[in-house]
């Protein structure tokens, strides 16, 4: 299992789906472990009734159907399916609306979905998802990218309320890939994924949504910066190590 994860870490990030399905066929006995530890680019389905797209993940899945956060119905329709309680559903609806605005402010496009469900500890778990296509043919506002994909998965466990406080545990995963193609730099592609956790005990006075939202915003920002500066920065450093930028090199002219 360690070895399987090791392999996934070394395969090109853009091939993670192929790598995962190859591993699933080699070691099917570990499939549930693998699926829970590995994230793949998010898939999307259209909810025709509400005219909006929603994101698919394990948390809105029951059998082979997926629940739309807009209509709260399963597509394809499913009998005896799992639903959040009506109270949690209210929170879920609000979360979806607000998260959509958050998404618009930071992503200027893209799709978001939030799913919630009760857990065994009298608390609940919420999953906030964002999928953005930043390519020039997608929602890329500046037309810089030939290809651009950002998938964010935020899973936050909220503990039961005790004395006006609650414990929040957020695990965020970002997967991204971008590629530019131009005259001077040719094909330039960066891709990768990163996952971090954040735990906080917060007062519930302003509501769970506020607390969860702030944590997500903070961690997303940190991950974005980390990817940009640390991770991509390291690859840049490597290029300069391989071939340091040259001072003007004296060109030798052919002897006549």
């Amino acid at each position: 299992m360690e070895a399987a994860l090791g392999l996934l870490r070394r395969m090109p990030p853009k091939q993670s789906e192929t790598a995962l399905s190859a591993l699933l066929s080699l070691i099917p006995q570990h499939s549930s472990d693998l699926l829970s530890q590995v994230d793949l680019p998010l898939q999307v389905l259209r909810d025709i009734e509400s005219g909006k797209d929603f994101i698919l993940c394990e948390y809105n899945r029951d059998a082979d159907s997926y629940r739309s956060p807009w209509s709260n119905k399963y597509l394809p329709p499913l009998e005896d399916a799992l639903y959040p309680s009506s109270e949690l559903r209210k929170l879920e609806v609000e979360a979806n609306d607000i998260f959509a605005i958050y998404r618009d402010q930071y992503y200027e496009g893209g799709i978001s979905s939030v799913y919630m469900w009760e857990d065994d500890n009298e608390g609940f778990v919420a999953c906030f998802l964002i999928k953005k296509d930043g390519s020039k043919s997608g929602h890329g506002r500046r037309g810089c990218l030939e290809e651009g994909a950002w998938d964010a998965i935020h899973v936050i466990q909220v503990g039961p309320e005790e004395e006006g406080m609650a414990h929040y545990c957020l695990t965020s995963t970002i997967m991204l890939s971008l590629a530019t193609d131009d005259e001077s730099s040719g094909k330039f592609g960066l891709s990768g994924s990163i996952r971090r956790q954040m735990k906080m005990d917060l007062a519930v006075a302003e509501g769970h949504l506020c607390n969860m939202g702030r944590m997500i915003e903070e961690l997303e920002g940190k991950l974005r910066n980390s990817l940009d500066q640390v991770y991509f920065g390291k690859t840049r450093e490597m290029v300069c190590t391989l071939r340091p930028p040259a001072e003007i090199v004296q060109m030798r002219l052919p002897d006549t």
């Binding site: 070895a3 399987a4 090791g6 392999l7 870490r9 070394r10 395969m11 990030p13 192929t18 190859a22 066929s25 080699l26 099917p28 909006k52 609306d97 607000i98 402010q105 930071y106 200027e108 930043g134 500046r142 810089c144 950002w150 971008l178 001077s184 730099s185 040719g186 094909k187 330039f188 960066l190 891709s191 990768g192 994924s193 990163i194 302003e206 949504l209 506020c210 939202g213 915003e217 974005r224 980390s226 500066q229 991770y231 991509f232 390291k234 690859t235 840049r236 450093e237 490597m238 290029v239 190590t241 391989l242 071939r243 340091p244 930028p245 040259a246 090199v249 030798r252 052919p254 002897d255």
Partner: protein, 309 residues
């Protein structure tokens, strides 16, 4: 025996062939310098020595040639570059500089021994004059510009040409690898320049392909994959003059490319990345989560007016 079904039923084991193909896929997709780590993990996952060994025998040569790995030759003769341009047979690679042929074990990635090259494996004196001059110029360039670069010039066409009147073709390879597994960072630079000496037009047609890769994987996993093609030309002159002209052209393009990569990187935080996610909203402040009441009201109003996304 090929498996004809598209979907395997849950309980069916993969066939030998299928396992081997999967194993090969993992090996071939290993980043530069990481094939041995991949091999170790792969063996653990496969737990089938036979499949692994066969997959390795087939995958390693392809990997080695495409990554143009450099193997040290015994008796401190230098390094030989394993590539499709220097290949004599699957396990034999020519080092034109020392006129030796290295016998190579692909899976172990070592040169087991060398032998002198036979006359028919080497170019004619006329060609060698050009090759040698170019090799020297390229070596000079590489030692100036690459801390750990290795180069070779192979004649891939027309090596038996005796004099004017025929075309011939060289391939210049420049490769540099930096492996830092303890720092979770590996990278490689590969340049392949095709120099086509055209007798009739007295022109050298030059085509280059650069490929740079880097992999950083400390608590995460990020890869750079950059490539560019080049085209240039110069006139057919004496061996020494051609060598200088070609080296200058290569130096010029590679330096420019590096500068362009730097520009691409510097545009990332504020431009390119922004198309994926901004650092902050246009308001330049954090999102006002506490105004959820305001949002609820906005939603109510939107619903009333029949608006809403």
């Amino acid at each position: 025996m090929a498996d004809e079904e598209d979907e395997l039923p849950e309980e069916t084991e993969l066939s030998y062939e299928q396992k081997k193909e999967i194993a090969k896929w993992f090996l071939l997709n290993a980043p530069a310098g990481e094939i041995n780590y991949v091999a170790k993990d792969l063996k653990a996952v496969l737990s089938d020595e036979e499949v692994y060994n066969e997959a390795a025998m087939e995958a390693f040569p392809v990997y080695n040639k495409s990554h143009m790995i450099c193997l040290e030759m015994p008796s401190r003769a230098g390094d030989v570059i394993v590539s499709s341009y220097s290949e004599i047979t699957e396990n034999e690679f020519l080092d034109p500089r020392t006129a030796q042929v290295a016998i190579v074990d692909h899976v172990k990635q070592i040169c087991t021994k060398v032998r002198p090259a036979h006359d028919e494996e080497l170019p004619s004196l006329y060609i060698e004059e050009y090759r040698y001059a170019l090799d020297a110029e390229i070596q000079r360039y590489v030692s100036e510009s690459y801390p750990k670069g290795i180069s070779a010039v192979n004649c891939v066409k027309g090596k038996d040409t005796e004099g004017l009147g025929s075309d011939f073709e060289f391939v210049v390879i420049i490769t540099a690898m930096r492996l830092s597994p303890q720092n979770f960072c590996n990278g490689s630079w590969r340049s392949v320049w095709n120099i086509d000496f055209q007798d009739e037009s007295q022109v050298l047609d030059i085509k280059g392909k650069l490929q740079v890769g880097a992999h950083y994987f400390e608590e995460g996993n990020v890869e750079l994959d950059a490539k560019k093609d080049f085209q240039d030309s110069t006139i057919f002159q004496s061996a020494d003059d051609c060598a200088i002209a070609i080296a200058n052209i290569i130096r010029h393009h590679e330096t420019e490319y590096l500068a362009a990569l730097e520009v691409a990187y510097s545009k990332l935080p504020d431009n390119t990345f922004k198309d994926l996610r901004r650092k902050l909203p246009v308001t330049r402040t954090l999102f006002p989560w506490q105004n959820t009441l305001q949002f609820s009201l906005t939603r109510e109003v939107e619903k009333e007016l029949g608006l809403g996304k």
